[in-house]
Subunit: 238 residues, 2 copies
DNA sequence: AATCCAGGTAGACAAGCGTCTACCTCAGAA
DNA sequence: TTCTGAGGTAGACGCTTGTCTACCTGGATT
């Protein structure tokens, strides 16, 4: 949960961590009082002003740090997962040529990415609580910022699906729509994952199925049903 | 946005409406001050205590009213939409027998339900803002209550899909999972719908596609792909 | 060696807060 | 007709709040 050691002044980080903690356990950011925050951080109330103009600025700082921390690792994981089925730099057969192999790759990437994502959620629950809370919170500034974060995530996902050929070819728009939906759902589910530790495994499975269904359904809807059916039948008999 | 005329004391309704308004425009429920609320409602601060123990109780009252208002109409609409393709009391052919007709029915119900839902959102934006905000808010009580609301919605949806045979047969669990995902997504999208009036039509279409993809994907995943493909091909040539 | 200034503190202020007790009012039950 | 109790008000209480001005400190810059 702790923020990364960086060039941030100590007090600034203390305040950010206190905000994360209070936000998760007690109240949303905009219901937080400056003095309460300072108390939690063990600092003088005025110290807040040395680092932030207002709570939005604090929120933005937290969001930025968190985003930087998770965005790149997620992309790398997708690559690793894809390579674990087909070694890197192997020319990738088209879905039409080898539907079975491609489906296996996609399934593997799906499974591993979901797992990593939830691992990260479990390690940084407070960050996700804050993110999801403020995504629908009262501050338009934070809402906008978090929507952009999710948008970036979705774009990354779409790029990776494209690049790693994780599903039959699709228009850019449709692909992005799917990525957006998946991203939204994953963030939603991360709350359940945090709040119901005893159901974590089920939630993982649910997430995988949701993603698979969405992607498959979209493929069918765009005329790639036959390819998929081929892959699936071969898969079931193996 | 206004709450229904009912047996509620006037002051109670005034307070609930003030809470809706302030929540939507300014701050989340738990960041609301009692005096501010009373001011907005044009009442004495103490009047609050005559009706509610605390803000959670207020929130619960609002949520309950809203749920009663939308739950039944949604169910009825699904029936009407289904009947507009196949008249009531007609014995419904199985998907295997007549995939094309069933797909048409499902598509119609999908389209009309999405439309009705968003219409209702547009009429009661503040209620949805409050609902979505508090679904991820700081109060565990309201979170739990709203999760139950969404759960009920999902169950209704699953029941209707079953009863109206809106998709090929599926295990109850899988069907419920899908309904849950769709419900979650619809609530998410309702925020976008409210905040981006100029994109309302696109959001409708996006929602329809999302639902179709999910349902089709799930059908494929559970071995009903062939039926679907048949229906689709016949559809495309018509 | 002098200076600067980012980071942190101290105290004070008026304003707003939640909540208490006490009082008013008036429709309907007795 | 009297009584009662739900709905609403008034004033006061001690706290907490955000923010202001002023001051301290110690490492880097000159």
């Amino acid at each position: 949960m702790s923020l990364p050691k960086s060039v941030l002044a100590q007090g600034k980080r203390l305040l950010m961590e206190a905000a994360l903690k209070l936000n998760a356990s007690t109240r949303s950011l905009n219901a937080l009082s400056l003095r309460e925050l300072a108390r939690e951080a063990g600092l003088n109330p005025n110290t807040f002003y040395r680092h932030f103009k207002d709570f939005d600025e604090l929120g933005l700082a937290i969001i930025e740090e968190m985003t930087n921390q998770i965005r790149q690792p997620l992309r790398e994981l997708r690559r690793k997962a894809a390579e674990s089925v087909v070694p890197a730099h192997t020319p990738i057969a088209s879905w039409r040529e080898n539907p079975r192999l491609n489906l296996a790759r996609a399934t593997q990437v799906n499974r591993e990415t979901v797992k990593l994502f939830f691992d990260y959620v479990a390690e940084n629950p407070n960050a996700f609580i804050l993110g999801i809370r403020e995504l629908h919170g009262a501050s338009p500034i934070l809402r906008r910022a978090l929507r952009k974060v999710m948008d970036d995530f979705a774009r990354d996902m779409a790029d990776d699906i494209n690049e790693l050929k994780l599903m039959p070819e699709l228009s850019q728009d449709s692909l992005y729509d799917i990525s957006e939906t998946i991203t939204r759902e994953m963030f939603q589910l991360s709350m359940e994952y945090i709040e119901q530790p005893e159901r974590q495994e089920q939630i993982c499975i649910k997430a995988e199925k949701m993603i698979t269904s969405l992607i498959m359904g979209s493929a069918v809807l765009h005329g790639h049903g036959a390819i998929l059916m081929g892959a699936l039948q071969m898969d079931q008999t193996s």
